[in-house]
């Protein structure tokens, strides 16, 4: 972008992908506005927000695309991913099958936009008694080079970390 070239101000598009009701919208809401609501409201299409983050000397304006979740009836439209520089794969730690959905979405994202940085976010970490994802599964994904962060959109735990990790990867600072 012309403006980006002339200043230290970078703009990056990031997307959130995942099964339905894993908490993508809540993560964005917590990240952008610091707000959390218990009420589940399904996303139709995509919601686009923006937030500036500072990494070292660089200020980055993130355009955060919160895509409608994948469910039995509708697949995620990968056209929304065009122009994305990175993405968060979001899974619900209390529903183990959402990790499998995340795996499949990663493959489709890669087919659309190629290999770009991503971070797997295991959300709802506050619901410890219902947690279904085993440490072995996490270790297996990590051994494949996946960056994984546990988060809770409710308490805010891990939310900033997830976006920061993604931005660091996008800037090439692993």
């Amino acid at each position: 972008m012309q403006q980006s070239r002339e200043s230290q101000y970078l703009r990056k598009k990031v997307c959130l992908l995942g099964a339905f009701a894993v908490g993508k919208t809540s993560l964005v809401s917590q990240f952008v506005k610091g707000i959390y609501s218990d009420k589940y409201l399904t996303t139709v299409g995509v919601k686009v927000d923006q937030k500036s983050v500072v990494v070292g000397p660089t200020e980055i304006s993130l355009a955060v695309w919160d895509l409608a979740g994948e469910d039995e009836f509708q697949k995620v439209n990968m056209s929304y991913m065009l122009g994305a520089r990175g993405y968060l794969l979001v899974a619900d730690g209390t529903r183990a099958e959402t990790v499998e959905t995340a795996r499949l979405l990663r493959e489709r994202a890669e087919n659309t936009v190629g290999k770009i940085p991503f971070v797997l976010v295991l959300n709802k970490a506050d619901l410890t008694t219902d947690w279904e994802i085993e440490d072995a599964s996490i270790a297996d994904l990590q051994s494949q080079g996946w960056s994984i962060i546990r988060s809770s959109a409710k308490t805010g735990e891990g939310v900033e970390d997830a976006f920061s990790k993604l931005v660091q990867k996008m800037l090439g600072d692993k």
């Binding site: 299409g45 927000d49 355009a63 065009l82 529903r95």
Partner: protein, 364 residues
Amino acid sequence: MSEFPQPVIDYLRSLELEKRSPAWLLTDSAGDLRESGGDLAEYALDKIAIGENVAERAFFLDGIIPFDGGKSIVLECVQTDGAHPADIHLFKLGNDGFGIVFLDANESQTRQQAVQQRGNELNLSYRKLQKEIQKKEVLLHCIVHDLGGPLMGIRGGFELLEREALSDEGKVLLEIGLRQARRQEQLISEILQAFSAEIASLDAFQIDPALAPSVITAAKSAIELLKPAFDLAQVSIKLDLEGPPPLEQERWRVAGEESRLQRVFANLMENGLRYSPAGSTVTVKLVDEGPSVLATIEDQGPGVPAEVQPQLFQKLSQGKRGKGKVGLGLYFCRITVEHWGGEIGQKAGTSGGSCFWFRLPKAA
């Protein structure tokens, strides 16, 4: 595409203009605005001046304009703060620019939202319910397992007492206690087996011909096990074969596991015994069908009432028939046989009683 007559074009145009508040941007190949029009304010696009880069002024277009690839892209229901949800259509203007059309997606968004919301909520509720049921089954399993411990002690105590010199009345009372303890142990065993079979059914199953049980041996073992109970009830039990002689064991080997197959036979024979009048016969018949073996267990009792039949092999269904069982025996048979790739059912017997049957594939 066929030519549209002008009235159709006019109608479609008026429909879109009236209902969908179109707005449009035309850019050069770098994405700088050449001209624009329509309801730009509805999409927060009215502040972009001619010559400005649209992707820099409308952050949600960043990374998309300019775009490569096909002729056009449609991004449905894009929602941003302070703007109407919009279906965004991006298309190329030959080689020197792009067109971007915004159409109001409010109506479709509201409609889709309602349907998806309901669908997703139901999906989540169903899953939650399944999880609750699983938790309760595990709890039930633990409780039943714990009940079995002291019962073993009670039965052992009774069995030791049998060796003592008791009065005739004492012997009768002891026999009652012993019988009840054994019955309760049997009940607990059924519950635990049903539970473990359910868990096992989640595992992959492979037929190993070397370990495959003979259906004749399993049937005979079950008959031997239940013979005293049949004698006590004055009911006969017999085994008929239709196929190769018993010595040709290989031809009677079926998919499964020996002790569980014996348990399936025993459950079905016990079931037949339970409804058999004194003096009648329960007939166990094994038929070599070539690729499979059919086993039938037929009694001369009153038969299974029509209203009970649909639930016969469901969990906890048999208790309704008033014979003091919890209804896990037939359930265990079904999940076990199905797990081995077989099938199971019930039909009317030739003499008016019930005829339970199951079919298992041969091991080789």
